[in-house]
């Protein structure tokens, strides 16, 4: 399987403080990479760099053999989609959020596609008109994830998407991520603190104080 994403000596400095230092790794197509590490170590910053929401201070991010900086930013982010840590929902209703990916592509809203996705994550068609403030944290997180994958990206960057969720929501989200990875052939980079996710990780990296630590096998056990 080919390499879809390659980072070479990526560093990021903001306000004179180095947040990421010399990070290099590559991700194969359809790989499921798990990243963990202490709070404030730079995990979210790394995902922002990969999704081109910020540009690395030095080093390169290559997507499909081409520097991320050589892509049109909007087009790039549709292929390398970042789901925020604690995402905010837009507008008033669940529907407002699910129409958004269609609107920005100037496509008519596909109700069936949206309800199918909702049902896949344990919500229903009736929830489309639900007010976003009436959703639980877990439900919000699921709606947010659907926003990212209604038009499947090549790479999904999931930033602590199960943090603070109850067990049911957590399980549903895990199932969705697995499904996207295995059935939809999506490459996944998932940042997490979740023990079971770390335990089950096919490949686990640690970020500590802005540096990448590739654990040895016995650490991974």
């Amino acid at each position: 399987m080919g390499t879809i994403l390659q980072l070479d000596h990526v560093s990021y400095t903001a306000d004179k403080s180095q947040i990421l230092s010399d990070i290099s790794f590559s991700v194969a197509e359809q790989e499921y990479l798990t990243i963990s590490g202490p709070s404030g170590s730079g995990k979210s910053t790394l995902l922002r760099v990969i999704s081109s929401l910020i540009t690395q201070t030095s080093g390169t991010v290559n997507f499909k053999g081409k520097s991320s900086l050589d892509y049109d930013p909007t087009e790039y982010r549709r292929h390398v989609s970042y789901c925020f840590q604690q995402p905010q929902l837009f507008g008033n209703t669940v529907k407002d959020n699910l129409t958004f990916p269609f609107e920005i592509r100037n496509q008519p809203f596909d109700q069936k596609k949206a309800t199918d996705s909702l049902q896949y994550v344990g919500l229903s068609a009736g929830d489309l008109d639900k007010n976003i403030n009436a959703l639980s944290g877990g439900e919000k997180q699921r709606v947010a994830l659907i926003r990212n994958v209604l038009f499947p990206p090549d790479i999904l960057l999931a930033d602590e998407v199960t943090a603070g969720l109850d067990d049911t929501s957590k399980e549903i989200v895990h199932k969705l991520l697995k499904h996207l990875n295995q059935d939809r052939k999506m490459t996944l980079i998932s940042v997490t603190h979740d023990d079971s996710e770390i335990r089950d990780a096919a490949k686990l990296y640690n970020i500590v104080a802005g540096k990448l630590e590739v654990p040895t096998n016995d650490q991974q056990q």
Binding site: S51, S52, L53, I54, T55, L69, P73, T74, E75, R77, R78, S81, Y82, C83, F84, P87, Q88, F90, F100, P101, E103, I104, R105, R147, N148, F151
Partner: protein, 268 residues
């Protein structure tokens, strides 16, 4: 219908009713003392500001009076045009100062205020509502450009606060693959609205709560109230057109300054 022959804004007005002698002005200056006394008594710390403001007003207005007198008298189209540009330039500079650091806010304000002001002015002159003579075009330009300046200043403030408050949401929209325009849509709309809102409000209450300055001025100078109202109605149309156009242009040029060439949000 507005009869432009009777449009006597500042030029050959009936001055019989208007005689302020220098002596009565000096007496009127004692009104400033009322403000100063309140400031002293209530320890507002505004005494110096008040005095400076009053003195500045006297000096500035006197200079403007002499300049306008000169311009009105020689009635030269080039000089009038230059004065119009000068007013627009000043309005743009003031709008720019209210932009709190939005890059390129001066050229943006200049484009917005110039376009809106000139368009309104051209329509007024072409329709014959206003004559292209300094005593009519200069005060009108001042009014239009002033309104545009206020609208743009408010629109900038709204852009700054909205991009700050909704930063996370904008970032998420970008991450979902929205372009900068799509990611800023709500902010653009609200900022144009906020720029226009005060002029719409003032127009709504016109004649009920406030007697607008132009109309008051005309009546002060002895013009028939109904005729003064005709001009005021014209001003209302002009204000609505100018503020909306100016705020629209300013916002559409300014929101892009919040992003860099990689479509990343750079200001908050």
């Amino acid at each position: 219908m507005i009869n432009s022959n009777n449009f006597i804004l500042m030029g050959a007005m009936n001055t019989k009713n208007l005689q302020v002698s220098p002596f009565s002005l000096v007496l009127a200056a004692s009104l400033v003392l009322v403000a100063v006394l309140i400031s002293q008594w209530q320890k507002l710390g505004l005494t110096k500001d008040l005095l400076v403001a009053a003195i500045r007003a006297v000096i500035q207005l006197t200079i403007v009076g002499f300049i306008l007198k000169y311009i009105f008298r020689i009635n030269n189209a080039w000089l009038t045009g230059l004065m119009i540009l000068f007013i627009i330039f000043n309005a743009a500079y003031n709008a720019h100062k209210r932009a709190a650091g939005i890059p390129k806010s001066f050229p943006i304000s200049l484009i917005a205020i110039f376009t809106a002001t000139i368009l309104s002015l051209v329509i007024l002159v072409v329709t014959g509502a206003v004559k292209f003579i300094p005593s009519q075009t200069i005060p009108i330009t001042g009014m239009i450009a002033g309104q545009a300046m206020v609208a743009d200043g408010l629109a900038y403030r709204s852009l700054n606060s909205s991009f700050h408050d909704r930063r996370e949401q904008v970032l998420e929209k970008l991450a979902l693959g929205a372009n900068v325009k799509q990611a800023s849509e709500g902010i653009i709309r609200d900022s144009i609205k906020n720029g226009m809102a005060p002029s719409i409000d003032s127009v709504k209450t016109m004649g009920i709560v406030n007697l607008p300055g132009m109309m008051s001025g005309l009546m002060f100078a002895g013009v028939d109230p109904l005729q003064a109202v005709e001009y005021q109605i014209m001003t209302v149309f002009m204000i609505l057109a100018t503020t909306s156009l100016s705020a629209f242009i300013a916002v559409y040029l300014a929101y892009k300054q919040f992003y860099n060439d990689r479509d990343q949000l750079v200001r908050d």
